[in-house]
Symmetry: C2
Subunit: 240 residues, 2 copies
DNA sequence: CGCATAATCTGGTATATACCAGATTGGAGA
DNA sequence: TCTCCAATCTGGTATATACCAGATTATGCG
């Protein structure tokens, strides 16, 4: 018999968890449909959905638009303090990266960017919007705002590789210091659509604001990650 | 007329957002009950709850057990790379901190801790479990595992203040380097209960593993934060 | 065989309704 | 005035049902 003080949807969560374990479903594998699961576990679709949402919040499964529920791959380890490009550290961990440039343009510094960068409103600025995949699952979208004063002609280059690598090799630019902000948020609007998730899906926001040796603004990076896609790992104070 | 391709619950989200703005509801203030809101906006409680959950995910409002919905206070800024105690940086930002020690004990190193700390399984270890408040809202719970070899008698001290301050002042201990891990997760079990949130509520996990100059394990800190409670802000590479 | 289109399957949204359990409130009694 | 307990209010859980829209699959025509 089941504990009466334990809601059905949490019991279902446990049974689904066990079921997934015993079936040894692997990364990116699809679950049966909600209707089928609700029959198999003798409950309604509404309640099954509560249980599935619970497992989604825990990061065990994820939903893909209207196609079904899938097993979540392992989290990607990520160190935002390093200068290593996306492609390299994804490959290092045995996954397959891919980057899509959704748009790139030369535009003008808006007020909010002026405030944190020190550039004047209306100054020219590069804006690149990209989507990044790991093993064909879109994990994040990324806005890059780059100071064209230091790297004229950047936009005519391919932006499907590491921007930082390009800045370093072609323009000899590297950041002297940077301000990093990280916090959980809900994915909305353009970011939710680009990642093919529902409005309000859980995400993680990472912002990097980079300056060069003279204190000039180099680049702003705003990343919107799926909540279950990454694990930030940083080592601090090791000077060997 | 409303756009037909825009779900009712998202329209409600927008109207609730506007309503909260115009009413100028302030931090920690209570919303009307779900039943009242569903009448006022001519819909059912189920749909209103979807809209409220959306705003909750976005961090505008939060729920308190079975008491109602409240306006979320501003995020606390937090730098896990600094040695500053909780009380100090909360106060610096104009809030009122409070810490509760839920238990403290001398126990033995379990296998998982042995693996990351280098200590042998079964070695004595201090374990402190605390809950931290800002303006009387519980924002996080925290497990501290401290190596008693370096600070005998620590548990007889009060643990409602900064453990790091105590380690520094009484035992002259400070970390040489540390490994930090951060990722979103669902709050479950003890952590969810202690923070008075539902099983599976969105949270942020922060782990700090600290070693001294000789590379000996000093302390492990595992923090479970509410998803809407903090903004991590770190400056890297500024050596002035 | 290739391609457009129709049927079907999927999760997403919405309404109506009911009962439960914890939290709060109000009132009766000491 | 204080304490306790019952009434009431809150969000939490659960079932049944329906229709929608995007994604996938099957079909049948050229």
């Amino acid at each position: 018999m089941s504990r009466t003080d334990y809601p059905v949807y949490l019991q279902l969560r446990d049974r689904l968890w066990d079921w997934i374990e015993t079936e040894e479903l692997s990364s990116q594998q699809r679950l049966p449909s909600e209707r089928e699961l609700s029959e198999r576990f003798h409950t309604t679709r509404v309640t099954i959905r509560q249980a599935l949402s619970q497992l989604e919040a825990e990061g065990l499964i994820f939903r893909s638009n209207r196609r079904g529920w899938y097993i979540t791959p392992e989290r990607l380890r990520y160190d935002p303090s390093r200068d290593v490009g996306f492609n390299r550290y994804v490959t290092e961990q045995g996954f397959h990266p891919r980057t899509e440039t959704l748009f790139k343009q030369l535009t003008e510094v808006p007020p909010w960017l002026s405030e944190i960068s020190g550039l004047e409103v209306g100054t020219p600025i590069y804006h690149v919007f990209r989507r990044r995949y790991v093993d064909e699952r879109g994990l994040l979208v990324e806005h890059n705002y780059i100071n064209p004063a230091h790297c004229p002609g950047l936009l005519s280059e391919s932006t499907d590789m590491s921007i930082w690598q390009m800045l370093r090799e072609k323009y000899d630019l590297r950041p002297e210091h940077r301000d990093i902000e990280i916090y959980p948020l809900a994915l909305k609007g353009l970011e939710a659509e680009s990642l093919n998730v529902n409005q309000g899906a859980a995400g993680l926001y990472i912002q990097r604001l980079s300056f060069d040796q003279r204190g000039d603004f180099l680049e702003l990076d705003r990343e919107y990650w799926l909540h279950d896609a990454l694990k930030i790992a940083v080592r601090i104070g090791d000077r060997h």
